[in-house]
Subunit: 208 residues, 4 copies
DNA sequence: ACGCACGGGACTCCCCGTTGGT
DNA sequence: ACCAACGGGGAGTCCCGTGCGT
């Protein structure tokens, strides 16, 4: 905190943030290192000091994105005092809230990068898989807890159901983006709620 | 049309096929025109004779992909003599069959390109949207027919339900690829069948 | 005149005209054969039927330009019934009239192509030289006749003086184009008249 | 600034010099960036580090050419201790001296580039115009001073007369190049001297 | 920790000219 | 006389990564 307050950590984060911003729009291949440096106000010297190459930055971006998501989902994921089914509902609402930003579409770096790079950049694919698996474990936990609490209509595997929601979520963002219509995401999430409620013995009524 | 004219149409198709093959693996930006020419055994002269630019080829590739899909789905979509709900089941089975190819993963050009390019290449985004909309209309038609025939458990909009399945399908391919596990796609499709059956008055039992 | 009125000669001319139009704007190297074909509504097949290559077309364009110029200058050059000095004045007025076209600048294919290609395309340079020499001989003839008729203030070589005017003319078009100001060409032509008049014993007064 | 930095400024200059050399011969469009890099012994990496594109380099080349010219004309332009008419004579002699180089023709980048690019590359046209205007202002200054000192035979506008000489100069180089005859330039300059002298009250006699 | 100059290698696009056929 | 399909070869641009220097 002397005279160089732009600590190493801060620089790293600025590069990651710039990369996320650009890659969400343009994808990985079309996002140049030069562009990231410009967007972040730094130079390539700084870039290659902090990251071995562009691929390493992308991995860091995926991890940072996951950490940020965990923060946003924390209420639903970690508040063990509430009914797990309610927490699933809350989760779906949080997801729906991501579609409300008027200026920029609802997109996810994990979907972007894994779609583009799964077969060519194994480290990035692995980073994306980690995030998917983490999200899935959290949701599977909620589903298992809800199953324990409420019983189920017909038996189901919480993990499989979580993958179902996970896939639906990423597919919804893809469709929402392709059709330039975030409402389609929200409609999907309403049907997802119906799907979830249908899993359990005493389904909740649909929201008005 | 004797021997010399490699018939233009044929050349076009070879370029499109090569592009699909490469872009499914590497995405759009990382697929070079040189690569497409090499893969198709043609030259850049031929390429730029048939397509104004790479973007135009991608649009053509998306359209060709849709046409091919329509062929594969034809049994489920167009055989009006059968029960619409059965045809939906058949549709899901056809989709599941795409995951069986041992060597190459189950992926879709529409998902690849729209994910990567929706915000930067409007013509490609539009081409992808057209395919999504077409698929959706077909499935929505089936759902509406099934609803008319079987009645529904709780009311639902066939179009919305179709978008739900559409999104799930593309998300499933994304997740299947990211986790290198096609089984995840099949599991999702089984749950999709359960979701569909739950929409109607007299749900079919789950397959063994 | 049967059913194919687009005779060979006509096609040639359309190609030459298109080439002139485009090269006046873009120069030689930036004018593509494809562009010429598009501009003329023909195809490359026609092009290479009539011309061995782009260079040959440029030579033809230079010659066509010269022929057109001779037509425009005819009054001043060939009407032997009038005073040669008057005919020089008329020549300068004809030249000035080229600057009046409101939409397109006053430019000359000979200047364009010889400037760009003199050192790299000998046949084109030679074609341009022919046109310059022809123009010069005509003007030198007028100057010699005027000298014979009016006597001269101080002796001068009509050929040299013609080259002076020739150079001034091409330089004026260059400057007029560079400064986007055709008035500069007209001002130069007024001074040229003054220069010419000063050569002879009884100088004409400047025009009002 | 010790040993490694080939000092950026030096590299820039080498690129500019190479560009001038090549463009004087081949024009702009036919001069490739690869060619410039080869001629200068640098790589395209260096090129695009220093210049945004070829156009920017051409602008820099025009400016550098102007600066070089100012140096060569300095004696005539800036030595205020001598008679302005003498300085004009000196100017014409300096210009004539440019034709003496045995190996390469007397050409000017400003004329080359503005001729070829005026209508398609506005920034280059503007750069050329700047140089023309600068040259003209200098010469107009000399003419005005001479007018003040010597009086004039018939009134004239120094600026217009300067444009006359300017145009004649560029046209002379064009003609000299087209006819492969530098003597024609020198002859024009002799007549230009006669023209200039004729403007003033007490004309100098022609040089032997 | 970071900045600048640079190397070398693509990438997209396009261009000139030919060939086989109408 | 004319045309469509194509070959082969760069054009300009830009990008990732390195190395020197502070």
């Amino acid at each position: 905190m002397k005279k160089r307050p732009r600590s190493s950590e801060d620089t790293r984060r600025r590069l990651v943030d710039a990369a996320i911003r650009l890659m969400l729009r343009q994808g990985y291949a079309s996002t140049s290192v030069d562009g990231i440096c410009e967007e972040s106000g730094l130079t390539k010297g700084a870039f290659f000091h902090h990251f071995a190459n562009k691929e390493a930055l992308a991995c860091a971006a995926v991890a940072a994105w996951g950490a940020m998501g965990s923060g946003l989902y924390a209420q639903a994921w970690d508040d063990e005092s509430r009914d797990p089914l309610e927490r699933i509902h809350l989760l779906l609402e949080i997801m729906a809230s991501f579609t409300e930003s008027p200026d920029e579409p609802c997109v996810c770096i994990v979907g972007m990068l894994s779609q583009e790079l799964s077969e060519t950049h194994p480290p990035i694919r692995a980073a994306c898989e980690r995030e998917l698996v983490h999200w899935n474990a959290k949701v599977a936990g909620l589903l298992a807890a809800a199953k324990a609490r409420h019983g189920c209509a017909a038996d189901f595997d919480p993990e499989e159901a979580a993958w179902f929601l996970n896939s639906l979520w990423h597919g919804s963002m893809l469709v929402g983006k392709t059709c330039s219509d975030p409402e389609r995401i929200r409609a999907n999430l309403r049907l997802a709620r119906r799907f979830v409620d249908g899993l359990f013995a005493a389904p909740q009524p649909l929201p008005a």
